[in-house]
Symmetry: C2
Subunit: 336 residues, 2 copies
């Protein structure tokens, strides 16, 4: 499970950071999920190995423009790239009407089907690899987080049970192994009853804008990684200079420590922190404040940073993608 951060700035883009977008990759590296789609998300994708054909589903956390204005362009470009596979979009109700109206207005006809699922009445979504749940958060508008849990962590067949139930070796076993239910001698045999999993599933929680990290307590049980906004530091919030509805680095870090999360990624930073260190506010302020409350693995997201949550639940720095990669001063989790 790799994550590529496509945008890590709040509100407006800066030279170094785009507005919100995160890609979550399946282990194969081909299928992937997009969480939020700020303007120019499709531009950021050009600097990654991801294609619009490999996109399995899009999850939108809330209706603010820096989280969704990139949707129509990305969908239109997928059409121009001749995508044919239907595309699931899990999003607040208002998004569907807006996307369809936007495509109509611009006379863009997609060669594939859009399948919208309303977050307000969402009861989970599954692919062959991933099970996704939504968690209601607290923001100026309704906002959600999404938890991604592996649905089939390294499955193997329960050969004893298959033999006991008289299922002959061969294609039927293969189908069950791949997750398909089968018909055998008039009975339906469900794949999940014949699979063994050698380890616990990995879980990643990716939150939208939110001023109450506590709302994620249940979702973070069994999770290895939380991606959460830390728009400001406590000092800015207490000085009354922050917009309502966001979390501070201290708030998120203290919450992550309280649920004993091994890995915390902060993102969605106010542009005021994005200058060079030692010149007024900087990203160091965010880092120092969070580290006071959270002593496990802390990462401040940067655009086009790629990290990997491996099968043992360890987090690895993979690479910094894009043309600026060589100049980037990304803190690697291993300290190198």
């Amino acid at each position: 499970m790799d994550l590529i951060f496509l945008g890590t700035s709040s509100g407006t883009p800066t030279k170094a950071r785009n507005v919100s977008g995160v890609a979550l990759l399946e282990d194969s590296g081909k299928g992937w999920y997009l969480i939020d789609c700020g303007e120019a998300t499709q531009h950021q994708l050009l600097h990654t190995p991801l294609t619009l054909h490999g996109l399995r589903a899009i999850f939108i956390t809330h209706v603010h423009g820096d989280h969704c204005y990139g949707l129509p362009g990305l969908l239109a470009s997928a059409g121009m790239a001749r995508r044919q596979e239907p595309l699931d979009i899990i999003a607040p109700r208002a998004i569907e009407a807006w996307v369809r109206a936007t495509l109509d207005m611009s006379q863009s006809w997609l060669p594939y089907e859009l399948r919208f699922h309303t977050t307000e009445s969402f009861d989970g979504w599954c692919s062959s690899q991933m099970r996704v749940e939504a968690i209601a958060l607290s923001h100026r508008v309704p906002s959600w987080g999404y938890s991604f849990t592996e649905s089939r962590p390294d499955p193997s067949l329960d050969a004893d049970k298959l033999d006991r139930d008289g299922v002959p070796r061969g294609p039927l076993w293969g189908a069950l192994m791949r997750g398909h239910d089968i018909e055998h001698e008039g009975r339906t045999l469900r794949s999940e009853h014949y699979l063994l999993f050698s380890r616990a599933p990995r879980r990643v929680v990716i939150a939208g804008d939110n001023d109450q990290p506590e709302l994620l307590r249940e979702a973070c049980q069994g999770a290895q990684l939380l991606v959460h906004e830390a728009t400001y530091t406590q000092a800015i919030a207490e000085a009354g200079k922050a917009d309502f509805g966001h979390s501070t680095a201290a708030q998120v870090a203290a919450f992550a420590a309280s649920v004993q999360l091994p890995h915390l990624v902060l993102t969605h930073f106010s542009a005021r922190y994005q200058g060079a260190p030692n010149r007024g506010l900087s990203m160091d302020d965010i880092r120092v404040e969070a580290a006071e409350h959270f002593s496990a693995n802390l990462i401040l997201a940067e655009d086009l940073l790629r990290i990997r949550l491996d099968k043992q639940g360890q987090l690895q720095w993979v690479e910094r993608l894009g043309k600026d990669a060589r100049e980037a001063a990304v803190s690697r989790p291993d300290g190198s």
Copy 2:
């Protein structure tokens, strides 16, 4: 009158070229006009000296997404930058409802007024510096070009006439010089009646998508510069591989020669030409084809290229903006 090309790719962005957008700058360098606003136009602006406070008006050529999907984000960012000055937007009718619906959907409240002017019923627009007319073009959807003509080229006061009419030297002369009409002894004196211009006004024509360059014949009278799409070469069009509604390099170049234009900028290139030379199709194909028909000053636009139409009507290469500038292989009009 400087031009900065913000996007020069047709349909979808590539690593090197964004979708459509052109900035036209007043001589002061502060006030400017935006023609088309594809997705991530606001991102491109971050690499220029232009601000959203200096933006005088936006002109949209047609409703296709690669020419307008960047509008809501740019308008929202201008709001977050605390713009207060009303903003004129000249655009096809469908754009207004869509922009307002998009801002509503995302609960974005702008601190300044949007003043829409419908291109379908447009009879010109003026600022203190520029007079703008729309020209109907031919495309798959209604499309327009816009001509920008200097409204007050280097004005000086007609002192003899002012003396004859008994207007006393002082603040009244200053007001007339700045373009304001004044009240004097019960009469309204119009600025334009007391100004002399030492040279002809410059004119730049910037066209939207269009398969009939001939439609610009009248607008190009007295123009020094035409910016026009050349999405394909003739070879691709004749092989039936082109979308309908666009012009070839040959078509535009032949038209520009026929109206004796001194300067022609081609833009809006199909991604198929954007690879390296000698590897299949390249930008050289466009250049060679256009040069066969047009022997005056030919420029193929590149993103963040800045050129200047000086008061003598000569075109100067100013700079290539942005972080890629040093790597760029821009052809300078002076051949250097």
